[in-house]
Amino acid sequence: METDWSVLVEFIPELLEGAKTTIYITLVGLIGGLVLGTFAGLMRAYGGHILNAVAFTYVEIIRGTPIVVQVMFLYFALPVLADLRIDPMSAAILAIVVNAGAYIAEIVRGAFLSISKGLTEAGLAIGLPHWKVLVYIVGPLAFRRLIPPLGNQFIVSLKDTSLFIVIGVGELTRTGQEIMAANFRAVEIWTAVAIIYLIMTGTLSLILRSIEKRMSIL
Protein backbone atom coordinates (compact mmCIF):
# COMPACT_ATOMS: atom_id res chain seq x y z
CA MET A 1 0.00 0.00 0.00
CA GLU A 2 1.33 3.43 -0.98
CA THR A 3 1.49 6.02 1.74
CA ASP A 4 -1.06 8.73 1.23
CA TRP A 5 -0.75 11.58 3.68
CA SER A 6 -3.93 13.20 2.45
CA VAL A 7 -6.00 10.67 4.40
CA LEU A 8 -4.88 12.46 7.52
CA VAL A 9 -7.00 15.49 6.72
CA GLU A 10 -10.02 13.35 7.41
CA PHE A 11 -8.72 11.96 10.70
CA ILE A 12 -6.94 14.92 12.25
CA PRO A 13 -10.05 16.25 14.03
CA GLU A 14 -10.57 12.84 15.62
CA LEU A 15 -6.95 12.61 16.67
CA LEU A 16 -7.12 16.08 18.17
CA GLU A 17 -10.17 15.01 20.18
CA GLY A 18 -8.05 12.15 21.50
CA ALA A 19 -5.23 14.58 22.29
CA LYS A 20 -7.68 16.72 24.26
CA THR A 21 -8.58 13.73 26.38
CA THR A 22 -4.88 13.01 26.89
CA ILE A 23 -4.31 16.58 28.04
CA TYR A 24 -7.32 16.47 30.32
CA ILE A 25 -6.24 13.24 32.04
CA THR A 26 -2.67 14.53 32.38
CA LEU A 27 -3.67 17.92 33.74
CA VAL A 28 -6.20 16.75 36.30
CA GLY A 29 -4.06 13.76 37.21
CA LEU A 30 -0.96 15.87 37.76
CA ILE A 31 -2.76 18.46 39.87
CA GLY A 32 -3.91 15.61 42.11
CA GLY A 33 -0.48 14.02 41.91
CA LEU A 34 1.18 17.26 42.99
CA VAL A 35 -1.04 17.58 46.04
CA LEU A 36 -0.65 13.92 47.00
CA GLY A 37 3.07 13.90 46.21
CA THR A 38 3.76 17.06 48.22
CA PHE A 39 2.03 15.60 51.27
CA ALA A 40 3.72 12.23 50.92
CA GLY A 41 7.10 13.85 50.28
CA LEU A 42 6.84 16.07 53.33
CA MET A 43 5.74 13.07 55.39
CA ARG A 44 8.85 11.25 54.20
CA ALA A 45 11.12 14.19 55.00
CA TYR A 46 9.64 15.48 58.24
CA GLY A 47 7.00 13.03 59.48
CA GLY A 48 7.57 10.92 62.56
CA HIS A 49 8.07 7.17 62.32
CA ILE A 50 4.47 6.37 61.49
CA LEU A 51 3.81 9.04 58.84
CA ASN A 52 7.15 8.27 57.27
CA ALA A 53 6.38 4.54 57.15
CA VAL A 54 2.96 5.15 55.59
CA ALA A 55 4.40 7.38 52.87
CA PHE A 56 7.34 5.04 52.33
CA THR A 57 5.04 2.05 51.82
CA TYR A 58 2.90 3.97 49.34
CA VAL A 59 5.90 5.13 47.35
CA GLU A 60 7.48 1.68 47.26
CA ILE A 61 4.26 -0.07 46.17
CA ILE A 62 3.77 2.37 43.30
CA ARG A 63 7.39 2.44 42.20
CA GLY A 64 7.56 -1.32 42.36
CA THR A 65 4.60 -2.03 40.06
CA PRO A 66 3.88 -1.08 36.43
CA ILE A 67 1.34 1.65 35.84
CA VAL A 68 -0.69 -0.69 33.62
CA VAL A 69 -1.12 -3.03 36.58
CA GLN A 70 -2.09 -0.07 38.75
CA VAL A 71 -4.83 1.09 36.42
CA MET A 72 -6.06 -2.49 35.89
CA PHE A 73 -6.25 -2.83 39.63
CA LEU A 74 -8.21 0.41 39.99
CA TYR A 75 -10.56 -0.42 37.15
CA PHE A 76 -11.14 -4.15 37.52
CA ALA A 77 -10.08 -5.21 41.02
CA LEU A 78 -11.24 -2.29 43.13
CA PRO A 79 -14.92 -2.75 42.12
CA VAL A 80 -14.74 -6.36 43.30
CA LEU A 81 -12.88 -5.59 46.51
CA ALA A 82 -14.70 -2.45 47.59
CA ASP A 83 -17.95 -2.65 45.64
CA LEU A 84 -16.91 0.63 44.04
CA ARG A 85 -17.82 1.10 40.39
CA ILE A 86 -15.49 3.41 38.59
CA ASP A 87 -15.64 4.60 34.97
CA PRO A 88 -12.56 4.29 32.71
CA MET A 89 -11.91 8.04 32.70
CA SER A 90 -11.88 8.28 36.51
CA ALA A 91 -9.71 5.19 36.74
CA ALA A 92 -7.25 6.77 34.31
CA ILE A 93 -7.10 10.07 36.20
CA LEU A 94 -6.80 8.28 39.53
CA ALA A 95 -3.98 6.15 38.14
CA ILE A 96 -2.02 9.26 37.17
CA VAL A 97 -2.69 10.86 40.56
CA VAL A 98 -1.49 7.82 42.46
CA ASN A 99 1.40 7.02 40.14
CA ALA A 100 2.77 10.52 39.64
CA GLY A 101 2.15 11.23 43.34
CA ALA A 102 4.67 8.57 44.35
CA TYR A 103 7.40 9.87 42.07
CA ILE A 104 6.64 13.48 42.98
CA ALA A 105 6.89 12.50 46.65
CA GLU A 106 10.47 11.42 46.12
CA ILE A 107 11.21 14.58 44.16
CA VAL A 108 9.73 16.79 46.90
CA ARG A 109 11.55 14.90 49.63
CA GLY A 110 14.85 15.16 47.79
CA ALA A 111 14.45 18.87 47.11
CA PHE A 112 13.60 19.73 50.71
CA LEU A 113 16.37 17.59 52.15
CA SER A 114 18.88 19.09 49.73
CA ILE A 115 18.52 22.49 51.40
CA SER A 116 21.33 22.98 53.89
CA LYS A 117 20.40 22.02 57.43
CA GLY A 118 22.17 25.16 58.59
CA LEU A 119 19.41 27.32 57.12
CA THR A 120 16.76 25.44 59.05
CA GLU A 121 18.82 25.84 62.20
CA ALA A 122 19.25 29.56 61.54
CA GLY A 123 15.49 29.89 61.20
CA LEU A 124 14.80 27.87 64.34
CA ALA A 125 17.48 29.81 66.23
CA ILE A 126 15.62 33.09 65.84
CA GLY A 127 12.55 31.49 67.37
CA LEU A 128 10.50 30.46 64.34
CA PRO A 129 8.31 27.37 64.64
CA HIS A 130 9.46 24.59 62.33
CA TRP A 131 6.51 24.94 59.96
CA LYS A 132 7.32 28.60 59.37
CA VAL A 133 10.91 27.70 58.60
CA LEU A 134 9.59 25.27 55.99
CA VAL A 135 7.10 27.74 54.52
CA TYR A 136 9.27 30.86 54.42
CA ILE A 137 12.80 29.56 54.01
CA VAL A 138 13.23 25.94 52.98
CA GLY A 139 10.09 25.75 50.81
CA PRO A 140 10.94 28.61 48.45
CA LEU A 141 14.50 27.32 48.06
CA ALA A 142 13.37 23.73 47.53
CA PHE A 143 10.82 24.90 44.97
CA ARG A 144 13.54 26.11 42.63
CA ARG A 145 15.24 22.74 42.73
CA LEU A 146 11.92 21.00 42.25
CA ILE A 147 11.20 22.34 38.79
CA PRO A 148 13.60 20.36 36.58
CA PRO A 149 12.78 16.90 37.97
CA LEU A 150 9.10 17.82 38.19
CA GLY A 151 9.09 18.77 34.52
CA ASN A 152 10.57 15.42 33.72
CA GLN A 153 7.82 13.66 35.68
CA PHE A 154 5.10 15.71 33.91
CA ILE A 155 6.38 14.49 30.56
CA VAL A 156 6.57 10.89 31.75
CA SER A 157 3.01 11.08 33.07
CA LEU A 158 1.73 12.59 29.85
CA LYS A 159 3.17 9.71 27.89
CA ASP A 160 1.95 7.17 30.46
CA THR A 161 -1.64 8.10 29.60
CA SER A 162 -1.19 6.13 26.37
CA LEU A 163 -1.18 2.96 28.47
CA PHE A 164 -4.81 3.58 29.40
CA ILE A 165 -5.60 2.07 26.03
CA VAL A 166 -5.95 -1.11 28.08
CA ILE A 167 -9.12 0.10 29.78
CA GLY A 168 -10.53 1.74 26.68
CA VAL A 169 -10.13 5.42 27.48
CA GLY A 170 -10.43 7.40 24.24
CA GLU A 171 -7.14 9.25 24.55
CA LEU A 172 -4.77 9.88 21.67
CA THR A 173 -3.18 6.45 21.36
CA ARG A 174 -6.51 4.67 21.59
CA THR A 175 -7.98 7.00 18.97
CA GLY A 176 -5.08 6.26 16.65
CA GLN A 177 -5.53 2.55 17.23
CA GLU A 178 -9.24 2.72 16.37
CA ILE A 179 -8.69 4.64 13.16
CA MET A 180 -5.92 2.24 12.21
CA ALA A 181 -8.16 -0.77 12.74
CA ALA A 182 -10.64 0.67 10.25
CA ASN A 183 -8.31 1.70 7.44
CA PHE A 184 -4.88 0.11 8.04
CA ARG A 185 -3.06 3.40 7.36
CA ALA A 186 -0.38 2.53 9.88
CA VAL A 187 2.41 4.80 8.66
CA GLU A 188 0.27 7.90 8.33
CA ILE A 189 -1.71 7.46 11.53
CA TRP A 190 1.18 6.52 13.84
CA THR A 191 3.33 9.27 12.39
CA ALA A 192 0.58 11.77 13.10
CA VAL A 193 0.07 10.39 16.63
CA ALA A 194 3.78 10.60 17.35
CA ILE A 195 3.96 14.18 16.11
CA ILE A 196 0.99 15.23 18.24
CA TYR A 197 2.72 13.71 21.31
CA LEU A 198 5.91 15.55 20.41
CA ILE A 199 4.03 18.84 20.15
CA MET A 200 2.48 18.30 23.59
CA THR A 201 5.70 17.26 25.33
CA GLY A 202 7.66 19.94 23.47
CA THR A 203 5.28 22.66 24.62
CA LEU A 204 5.53 21.38 28.18
CA SER A 205 9.33 21.44 27.96
CA LEU A 206 9.33 25.00 26.68
CA ILE A 207 7.04 26.21 29.44
CA LEU A 208 9.17 24.53 32.10
CA ARG A 209 12.39 25.85 30.66
CA SER A 210 11.10 29.41 30.69
CA ILE A 211 9.99 29.05 34.33
CA GLU A 212 13.40 27.63 35.16
CA LYS A 213 15.15 30.52 33.46
CA ARG A 214 13.09 33.06 35.32
CA MET A 215 14.11 31.57 38.64
CA SER A 216 17.79 31.44 39.45
CA ILE A 217 18.75 28.30 41.29
CA LEU A 218 20.15 29.13 44.71
Binding site: E121, A122, L124, A125, I126, G127, P140, L141, L218
Partner: protein
Amino acid sequence: MSIIEFKNTSKHFGPLKVLDGVDLSIEKGEVVVLVGPSGSGKSTLLRCINGLEAITSGDLVVDGLSVTGGKRQLREIRQEAGMVFQQFNLFPQLTALENVAFGPSKVRGLSREKAREAALNLLEKVGLREKAGHYPAELSGGQQQRVAIARALAVKPKVMLFDEPTSALDPELKQEVLNVMRALAEEGMTMVVVTHEMGFAKQVGTRLIFMEHGHIAVDGDPREVIDSPPNDRMKDFLQHV
Protein backbone atom coordinates in the same frame (compact mmCIF):
# COMPACT_ATOMS: atom_id res chain seq x y z
CA MET B 1 19.51 34.69 89.10
CA SER B 2 21.89 33.34 86.49
CA ILE B 3 20.84 33.88 82.91
CA ILE B 4 22.11 30.44 81.91
CA GLU B 5 22.33 27.56 84.32
CA PHE B 6 23.49 24.03 83.49
CA LYS B 7 22.51 21.64 86.27
CA ASN B 8 24.31 18.32 85.99
CA THR B 9 23.53 18.44 82.27
CA SER B 10 24.41 15.48 80.07
CA LYS B 11 24.05 14.97 76.37
CA HIS B 12 24.52 11.67 74.58
CA PHE B 13 24.58 10.89 70.88
CA GLY B 14 23.70 7.20 71.06
CA PRO B 15 26.48 5.61 73.10
CA LEU B 16 28.67 8.71 72.80
CA LYS B 17 28.67 10.91 75.90
CA VAL B 18 29.31 14.42 74.59
CA LEU B 19 28.36 16.44 77.67
CA ASP B 20 29.09 14.68 80.91
CA GLY B 21 27.26 16.17 83.88
CA VAL B 22 28.08 19.81 83.23
CA ASP B 23 27.44 22.32 86.03
CA LEU B 24 27.80 25.90 84.91
CA SER B 25 26.21 29.22 85.78
CA ILE B 26 26.57 32.25 83.54
CA GLU B 27 25.57 35.68 84.86
CA LYS B 28 24.22 38.65 82.95
CA GLY B 29 26.97 40.70 81.31
CA GLU B 30 29.57 37.95 81.27
CA VAL B 31 31.56 37.29 78.12
CA VAL B 32 32.40 33.61 78.38
CA VAL B 33 35.00 32.30 75.97
CA LEU B 34 34.78 28.57 75.38
CA VAL B 35 37.85 26.75 74.12
CA GLY B 36 38.98 23.17 73.85
CA PRO B 37 40.12 20.51 71.42
CA SER B 38 37.93 19.56 68.48
CA GLY B 39 35.22 17.14 69.56
CA SER B 40 35.33 18.19 73.22
CA GLY B 41 31.67 19.25 73.09
CA LYS B 42 31.86 23.05 72.71
CA SER B 43 29.33 23.28 69.90
CA THR B 44 27.06 20.83 71.62
CA LEU B 45 27.15 22.82 74.85
CA LEU B 46 26.22 25.95 72.93
CA ARG B 47 23.49 24.22 70.93
CA CYS B 48 21.90 22.81 74.06
CA ILE B 49 21.42 26.37 75.34
CA ASN B 50 19.04 27.24 72.51
CA GLY B 51 17.64 23.75 72.14
CA LEU B 52 19.11 22.91 68.74
CA GLU B 53 20.24 19.80 70.59
CA ALA B 54 17.99 18.29 73.25
CA ILE B 55 19.70 17.47 76.53
CA THR B 56 19.67 13.84 77.67
CA SER B 57 19.56 14.35 81.44
CA GLY B 58 19.89 16.97 84.12
CA ASP B 59 18.45 20.42 83.51
CA LEU B 60 19.37 23.58 81.67
CA VAL B 61 17.62 26.84 82.49
CA VAL B 62 17.85 29.93 80.27
CA ASP B 63 16.43 33.19 81.61
CA GLY B 64 14.24 31.23 84.00
CA LEU B 65 12.95 28.81 81.36
CA SER B 66 13.97 25.15 81.21
CA VAL B 67 14.95 23.82 77.77
CA THR B 68 12.88 20.74 78.61
CA GLY B 69 9.68 22.79 78.90
CA GLY B 70 8.21 22.02 75.48
CA LYS B 71 8.18 23.57 72.03
CA ARG B 72 6.56 26.88 72.87
CA GLN B 73 8.96 27.51 75.73
CA LEU B 74 11.87 26.55 73.51
CA ARG B 75 10.82 29.23 71.01
CA GLU B 76 10.79 31.77 73.83
CA ILE B 77 14.28 30.68 74.83
CA ARG B 78 15.47 31.01 71.25
CA GLN B 79 14.24 34.58 71.15
CA GLU B 80 16.27 35.28 74.27
CA ALA B 81 19.40 33.51 73.03
CA GLY B 82 20.55 34.50 69.56
CA MET B 83 23.02 32.31 67.69
CA VAL B 84 25.76 33.02 65.17
CA PHE B 85 27.08 30.07 63.17
CA GLN B 86 30.47 29.28 61.73
CA GLN B 87 28.95 29.02 58.24
CA PHE B 88 26.85 32.23 58.57
CA ASN B 89 23.72 30.46 57.26
CA LEU B 90 22.18 33.59 55.80
CA PHE B 91 18.99 33.00 53.83
CA PRO B 92 20.31 33.14 50.25
CA GLN B 93 17.05 34.22 48.61
CA LEU B 94 16.77 37.32 50.83
CA THR B 95 18.77 40.54 50.78
CA ALA B 96 20.87 41.60 53.77
CA LEU B 97 18.02 43.85 54.89
CA GLU B 98 15.41 41.12 54.46
CA ASN B 99 17.58 38.66 56.37
CA VAL B 100 17.75 41.01 59.31
CA ALA B 101 14.09 42.07 59.11
CA PHE B 102 12.98 38.44 58.90
CA GLY B 103 13.02 37.72 62.64
CA PRO B 104 11.25 40.88 63.77
CA SER B 105 8.46 40.47 61.22
CA LYS B 106 7.98 36.69 61.31
CA VAL B 107 8.77 36.07 64.99
CA ARG B 108 8.01 39.27 66.85
CA GLY B 109 5.15 40.21 64.51
CA LEU B 110 6.39 43.73 63.75
CA SER B 111 4.90 45.58 60.77
CA ARG B 112 6.88 45.58 57.53
CA GLU B 113 7.89 49.21 57.97
CA LYS B 114 8.96 48.84 61.60
CA ALA B 115 10.92 45.68 60.87
CA ARG B 116 12.67 47.40 57.96
CA GLU B 117 13.59 50.36 60.08
CA ALA B 118 14.94 48.20 62.88
CA ALA B 119 16.90 46.17 60.35
CA LEU B 120 18.48 49.27 58.81
CA ASN B 121 19.57 50.44 62.25
CA LEU B 122 21.18 47.09 62.96
CA LEU B 123 22.95 47.04 59.61
CA GLU B 124 24.23 50.49 60.46
CA LYS B 125 25.50 49.13 63.74
CA VAL B 126 27.50 46.38 62.04
CA GLY B 127 28.72 48.88 59.46
CA LEU B 128 26.77 47.52 56.50
CA ARG B 129 23.95 49.96 55.93
CA GLU B 130 25.08 50.56 52.37
CA LYS B 131 24.88 46.81 51.65
CA ALA B 132 21.22 46.55 52.66
CA GLY B 133 20.04 45.64 49.17
CA HIS B 134 22.72 43.07 48.48
CA TYR B 135 22.18 39.33 48.49
CA PRO B 136 24.46 37.14 50.64
CA ALA B 137 26.23 35.80 47.57
CA GLU B 138 27.29 39.37 46.77
CA LEU B 139 28.93 39.89 50.18
CA SER B 140 32.31 38.82 51.50
CA GLY B 141 32.46 36.23 54.28
CA GLY B 142 33.14 38.90 56.87
CA GLN B 143 30.21 40.97 55.67
CA GLN B 144 27.94 37.92 55.67
CA GLN B 145 28.90 37.14 59.23
CA ARG B 146 28.18 40.71 60.31
CA VAL B 147 24.75 40.49 58.67
CA ALA B 148 24.23 37.21 60.52
CA ILE B 149 25.06 38.95 63.80
CA ALA B 150 22.57 41.71 62.95
CA ARG B 151 19.96 39.08 62.11
CA ALA B 152 20.40 37.43 65.49
CA LEU B 153 20.30 40.77 67.31
CA ALA B 154 17.11 41.78 65.51
CA VAL B 155 15.01 39.50 67.71
CA LYS B 156 16.37 41.40 70.74
CA PRO B 157 18.03 38.51 72.56
CA LYS B 158 19.46 38.81 76.07
CA VAL B 159 22.31 36.42 75.30
CA MET B 160 24.34 35.86 72.16
CA LEU B 161 25.88 32.50 71.34
CA PHE B 162 28.77 32.42 68.86
CA ASP B 163 30.02 29.11 67.46
CA GLU B 164 33.44 29.74 65.91
CA PRO B 165 32.19 32.88 64.13
CA THR B 166 35.53 33.63 62.47
CA SER B 167 36.80 30.12 61.71
CA ALA B 168 35.48 30.12 58.15
CA LEU B 169 36.99 33.54 57.39
CA ASP B 170 40.25 34.55 55.79
CA PRO B 171 42.61 36.12 58.35
CA GLU B 172 42.12 39.64 57.01
CA LEU B 173 38.35 39.37 57.42
CA LYS B 174 38.34 38.01 60.96
CA GLN B 175 39.03 41.38 62.55
CA GLU B 176 35.93 43.15 61.25
CA VAL B 177 33.76 40.47 62.82
CA LEU B 178 35.71 40.46 66.08
CA ASN B 179 35.35 44.24 66.23
CA VAL B 180 31.57 43.99 65.99
CA MET B 181 31.62 41.38 68.75
CA ARG B 182 33.83 43.55 70.92
CA ALA B 183 31.45 46.50 70.51
CA LEU B 184 28.59 44.25 71.49
CA ALA B 185 30.42 43.13 74.62
CA GLU B 186 31.15 46.75 75.52
CA GLU B 187 27.41 47.47 75.37
CA GLY B 188 26.98 44.86 78.08
CA MET B 189 25.62 41.98 76.00
CA THR B 190 25.93 38.59 77.66
CA MET B 191 27.94 36.39 75.32
CA VAL B 192 29.13 32.81 75.07
CA VAL B 193 31.79 32.52 72.39
CA VAL B 194 33.48 29.41 71.03
CA THR B 195 36.64 30.64 69.37
CA HIS B 196 40.33 30.03 68.81
CA GLU B 197 41.10 33.76 68.93
CA MET B 198 43.13 33.99 72.12
CA GLY B 199 43.70 37.72 71.63
CA PHE B 200 39.94 38.26 71.65
CA ALA B 201 39.61 35.98 74.68
CA LYS B 202 42.11 38.03 76.65
CA GLN B 203 40.87 41.45 75.62
CA VAL B 204 37.13 40.95 75.59
CA GLY B 205 36.47 37.79 77.60
CA THR B 206 35.53 38.08 81.25
CA ARG B 207 35.79 34.34 81.77
CA LEU B 208 37.46 31.46 80.02
CA ILE B 209 36.32 27.85 80.01
CA PHE B 210 38.49 25.04 78.72
CA MET B 211 36.50 21.95 77.79
CA GLU B 212 37.75 18.43 77.57
CA HIS B 213 35.82 15.21 76.86
CA GLY B 214 32.47 16.81 77.59
CA HIS B 215 33.27 18.51 80.82
CA ILE B 216 34.70 21.73 82.08
CA ALA B 217 38.37 21.27 82.88
CA VAL B 218 39.34 24.89 83.53
CA ASP B 219 37.18 27.87 84.43
CA GLY B 220 38.87 31.15 85.22
CA ASP B 221 40.02 34.62 84.27
CA PRO B 222 41.09 34.61 80.59
CA ARG B 223 44.37 36.50 81.09
CA GLU B 224 45.41 34.36 84.04
CA VAL B 225 44.60 30.95 82.59
CA ILE B 226 45.97 31.74 79.13
CA ASP B 227 49.22 33.13 80.47
CA SER B 228 49.69 30.37 83.01
CA PRO B 229 47.56 27.35 82.08
CA PRO B 230 46.60 25.39 85.19
CA ASN B 231 47.01 21.99 83.54
CA ASP B 232 49.22 20.36 80.94
CA ARG B 233 46.48 19.54 78.48
CA MET B 234 45.41 23.15 78.31
CA LYS B 235 49.04 24.22 77.96
CA ASP B 236 49.36 21.73 75.13
CA PHE B 237 46.15 22.96 73.54
CA LEU B 238 47.24 26.60 73.67
CA GLN B 239 50.46 25.77 71.90
CA HIS B 240 48.49 24.48 68.96
CA VAL B 241 46.07 27.35 68.35
